[in-house]
C-alpha cells in the first residue's frame, strides 16, 4: 500500500461504511431481542403457557386422512407430521400434474390448428383469471359434493366407486411375490440405464440410432413379468365394499384431496402454459429453419432443438409457479382438507392456545418447503444452462 496509515476519521469512506453496517446490525439484533423479550414477558404476565412441551401431549382428536398410522392417543408432534405429509402430498401431485398439463396446453397454444389453438387460449384466459380459492370451493361444493352418496355411487366394474365420499378403489397389500418383484423392477431399471448409456455411446461414435424406447419398454415388461411367473403375484388386492354408512376396505381418495389437487393443478397449469409458450417463442425461428435444413422432422426439431433451448427461459418462472402452488395448498382449510394450516395452525393451535409457537412452526415449514423447491430448481437450471463450446 502506498497510502500512509490514517487515523480513524468519519471522513474516511471505509470507516463510515463499517460504522453504518455495525449500527444496522445492532439495530436489527436489538429489535429482534426486544420483540422476543417483550413477548416472553407478556406471555408470563398473562399466564399463557409457552414453550414446545405441548408437542409431546396426546392430541385426542381424529383426522380424516393420514398417510402414516395415527390414533387419537398419538402426540401433537405426530399430528404435525401428518399435516406436513398431507401438504407435501398435494404439493407433489399438484406440481407433477400442473407441469404435464401446462406443457401440453402451452404447446397447444402455438398449434397451427385453429381449434386447438383457440381452446388452449380460452383455457388459459379462464382459469388464470379466477381466484384459486373460488376454484377450490367450486370443485368441492359444486362438483364433488353434488355426486350421489355411497349407495347410489357411480360403479365402474365393481372395482372403482365414485361418490360424494370420494373415489374408492381397490387397496393393495404385499403378497408372497412382493420382494422378488421389487428386486426384479430394480434390475429392470438398472438394465434400462445401461442400455441407454450404451445406445448413446454407440450413437455418438457411429451415428447409428437405436430404438431406446421400445427396448426399455421390453426390459421393463419382461424382467418383472418373469418374477411374477416364477414367484407369484406381488400384490393382493382388496375391493371396496359397501358396509353400513360407507365403503369399507380398499383405498379412498377423499373429495377434499381431489377438489384441492384438481383446482390447484388447473389453476397453476394455466400459468405454466403461458410460461412454456413464451419459452418456446423465445427461441429464434432461425433455429427451426436450421434444424429443418439439416433434415430433422417436426417432432425431433421440437424435442432436440427447440425445447432444450426454451427450458433455460422456462425454468426460473416455472420455479415461482411451483412455489405458488405449494403456498396455495394452504387454501385447503376452506374445504376441510387436513393439511398443515387447517390441521396444525388450526386445530392444534386452538386446542393448545399456543399461537406463537404454532404459527412460528407453520411459517418455518412453508419457508423450508419453498426453499427446498427453489434449491432443487436452481440446481436443475444450472445443469441445463447453455454450455458454450
Amino acid at each position: 500500500m502506498h497510502n500512509p496509515p490514517r487515523g480513524l476519521s468519519l471522513s474516511d469512506p471505509r470507516v463510515r461504511a463499517w460504522l453504518f453496517q455495525i449500527l444496522t446490525i445492532i439495530f436489527v439484533v436489538g429489535l429482534g431481542w426486544y420483540l422476543f423479550h417483550n413477548t416472553q414477558t407478556n406471555l408470563q404476565h398473562r399466564g399463557i403457557t409457552s414453550g414446545f412441551d405441548f408437542l409431546e401431549r396426546s392430541a385426542g382428536f381424529g383426522i380424516a386422512q393420514h398417510l402414516i398410522p395415527y390414533t387419537e392417543s398419538d402426540s401433537y408432534a405426530r399430528v404435525f407430521v401428518i399435516g406436513l405429509l398431507n401438504t407435501l402430498l398435494v404439493t407433489f401431485i399438484g406440481i407433477v400434474l400442473a407441469t404435464l398439463l401446462g406443457f401440453i396446453i402451452g404447446v397447444a397454444r402455438l398449434s397451427p390448428n385453429w381449434m386447438i389453438n383457440k381452446l388452449a387460449t380460452v383455457y388459459v384466459e379462464t382459469f388464470r383469471n379466477i381466484p384459486p380459492l373460488l376454484q377450490i370451493l367450486f370443485w368441492y361444493f359444486a362438483v364433488f359434493l353434488t355426486l350421489p352418496g355411497p349407495r347410489g355411487s357411480i360403479n365402474i366394474n365393481d372395482t372403482f366407486f365414485i361418490s360424494n365420499r370420494g373415489l374408492n378403489m381397490p387397496g393393495a397389500s404385499a403378497a408372497e411375490g412382493f420382494w422378488p418383484f421389487a428386486v426384479a423392477v430394480l434390475l429392470a431399471i438398472a438394465a434400462v440405464v445401461f442400455m441407454v448409456r450404451w445406445a448413446n455411446r454407440r450413437f455418438e461414435a457411429t451415428g447409428e440410432p437405436f430404438h431406446k424406447f421400445w427396448a426399455a419398454l421390453g426390459l421393463l415388461l419382461v424382467i418383472p413379468g418373469l418374477s411374477v411367473l416364477l414367484f407369484g403375484n406381488p400384490l393382493s388386492w382388496e375391493l371396496p365394499e359397501l358396509k353400513g354408512f360407507n365403503f369399507a376396505g380398499g383405498w379412498v381418495l377423499i373429495p377434499e384431496l381431489l377438489a384441492l389437487t384438481l383446482a390447484l393443478t388447473i389453476y397453476t397449469a394455466a400459468f405454466i402454459a403461458e410460461i412454456v409458450r413464451s419459452g418456446i417463442r423465445s427461441v429464434s425461428h432461425g433455429q427451426t429453419e436450421a434444424a429443418r435444413s439439416l433434415g430433422l422432422r417436426e417432432g425431433p426439431t421440437l424435442r432436440k432443438v427447440i425445447i432444450p433451448q426454451a427450458m433455460r427461459v422456462i425454468i426460473p418462472p416455472l420455479t415461482s409457479q411451483y412455489l405458488n402452488l405449494a403456498k396455495n395448498s394452504s387454501l385447503a382449510a376452506g374445504i376441510g382438507y387436513p393439511e398443515m394450516v387447517s390441521l396444525f395452525a388450526g386445530t392444534v393451535l386452538n386446542q393448545t392456545g399456543q399461537a406463537i409457537e404454532v404459527i412460528a412452526i407453520t411459517m418455518s415449514v412453508y419457508l423450508a418447503i419453498s426453499i427446498s423447491i427453489s434449491l432443487l430448481m436452481n440446481w436443475y437450471n444450472k445443469r441445463i444452462a447453455l454450455i458454450e463450446r
Binding site: 417483550n38 407478556n42 398473562r46 353434488t146 392456545g353
Partner: protein, 342 residues
C-alpha cells in the same frame, strides 16, 4: 377468504402479544371507559346465541350478556361493539386484547381456564354434545354410528369429545373438520357427512337453518358436559368481577321476580331487603365493583333478567324452541344458581 382472514387475525394477535405492554388489574375497565364501549367477541353466526338480524344487529343470548355488561358499566346497553370470530380465532383475539369479553358459546375447561391466560366468568348456558342426522339413515341412537363420517367445527372441544366417545364405545368414525358452522351444515346437506355434531343447542340452531329442517333429527344421547360462558383475560380481577356479577345479577333478578317491566317500580318501592340491596335502594354494593349504584336496574331495564333473555332468544316463542332444562333456576329444577348481592 375466511381462512386468510383467520390466519391474518391469529398472526396480528401474535404480533400484538409481542408489541403490547402487559395487562394490569383495572386496566380493562379504564380502557373500556376511555373508549366508551365494550368490545365483545361473538360467534360467526349461531341463531339464538349471536347472529346478525335483518338490520345487521347481533342478537342472541351471548350478545345480550355483552349488552348487560355495557349496561352495568355505562348505563346504556347499546355501548357495545361486536367482533364476529370463528372458533379458531376466538382465544387469540381475547389474549391479544382485540376484544374485552369473549361471549361466544365457549366451553369452560381446565386447560382453557389455566394454561391460556384466560378465565371463565360463569355459565350462561349448560350444554352438551349431540348428533344431528338425516332421518333417511334410520339411526335412532348414537351407538349405531359405527363407521360414520362426521362433520365437526375445527378448534372446538367437540373434536376431542367425539373422539373420546367413539373410542370409549369401540366405534370407528371419519372426522371432516370445517372452519365455520355454515360449511359443516352445507356438507351435511350434500351428504358428505352422515352426522353433524356439535353442542345440542347449536344443532337445533343449525337445523333451523337447513333447507328442509324436518328431514333431520337430533339423536337422544348427550355425550359430554359443555358449560358455555363468557371469558375474560386473566390478571384483571376487577373486570372479571364485573362480568361475573353482571351474569349473577341477571340470574338473581329472575329469581326475585324482577323483570324489565317492573324493575324501576321495584327499585323505588320494594319492601324486600334482598331486592332493595340488589337494585341499589339500600347500600352501595355497586361501588365495590366500581360500578354505578343502579347497575342492576340498568341491566334488567335495558336487557332483561336471565329468564327474559333466554325466552327471547332460545325459548318456546323462537324457532329453536329449547326447553329451560338444566338452565332453569335451581329452585325450578335446573342448576342455574347465583350467589347473592350483599
Amino acid at each position: 377468504m375466511k381462512m386468510l382472514k383467520s390466519t391474518l387475525a391469529v398472526m396480528t394477535a401474535a404480533a400484538a402479544l409481542g408489541l403490547s405492554s402487559f395487562a394490569q388489574a383495572g386496566a380493562t375497565l379504564d380502557a373500556v371507559q376511555k373508549k366508551g364501549f365494550v368490545q365483545c367477541g361473538v360467534s360467526d353466526g349461531l341463531p339464538g346465541f349471536s347472529v346478525p338480524d335483518a338490520k345487521g344487529t347481533i342478537i342472541g343470548i351471548d350478545a345480550d350478556v355483552c349488552r348487560a355488561v355495557a349496561a352495568a358499566v355505562f348505563g346504556d346497553a347499546t355501548k357495545v361493539k361486536f367482533s364476529q370470530l370463528n372458533a379458531k380465532e376466538r382465544f387469540t383475539a381475547l389474549q391479544s386484547g382485540e376484544v374485552d369479553v369473549l361471549s361466544r358459546n365457549t366451553t369452560w375447561t381446565s386447560s382453557r381456564d389455566a394454561g391460556m391466560g384466560l378465565v371463565f366468568a360463569g355459565v350462561t348456558y349448560y350444554d352438551g354434545i349431540g348428533f344431528l342426522v338425516n332421518k333417511k339413515l334410520g339411526v335412532s341412537s348414537a351407538k349405531e354410528l359405527d363407521g360414520a363420517t362426521i362433520c365437526i367445527q375445527a378448534g372446538t372441544t367437540t373434536e376431542l369429545n367425539v373422539s373420546d366417545y367413539f373410542r370409549a364405545n369401540g366405534l370407528k368414525y371419519t372426522p371432516i373438520t370445517f372452519d365455520t358452522s355454515d360449511e359443516s351444515a352445507k356438507s351435511l346437506e350434500s351428504g358428505r357427512c352422515d352426522v353433524l355434531t356439535s353442542d345440542k343447542s347449536q344443532l337445533y340452531a343449525q337445523r333451523s337453518k337447513l333447507a328442509s329442517p324436518t328431514d333431520y333429527v337430533v339423536l337422544p344421547e348427550t355425550i359430554s358436559k359443555e358449560p358455555l360462558g363468557p371469558v375474560v383475560r386473566k390478571g384483571d380481577e376487577e373486570w372479571f368481577a364485573i362480568v361475573k356479577w353482571t351474569l349473577f345479577a341477571m340470574l338473581n333478578a329472575e329469581e326475585m321476580g324482577v323483570t324489565s317491566k317492573n324493575v324501576e317500580a321495584e327499585a323505588k318501592s320494594t319492601k324486600n331487603p334482598d331486592v332493595a340491596r340488589m337494585l341499589g335502594a339500600d347500600g352501595e354494593y355497586g361501588k365495590d365493583l366500581k360500578l354505578p349504584k343502579d347497575w342492576v336496574v340498568k341491566i334488567v331495564k335495558e336487557v332483561g333478567n336471565y329468564g327474559e333473555v333466554f325466552e327471547r332468544n332460545l325459548g318456546k316463542s323462537t324457532p329453536l324452541q329449547i326447553d329451560r332444562g338444566l338452565n332453569a333456576l335451581w329452585n325450578q329444577g335446573g342448576i342455574q344458581y347465583a350467589p347473592p348481592v350483599r
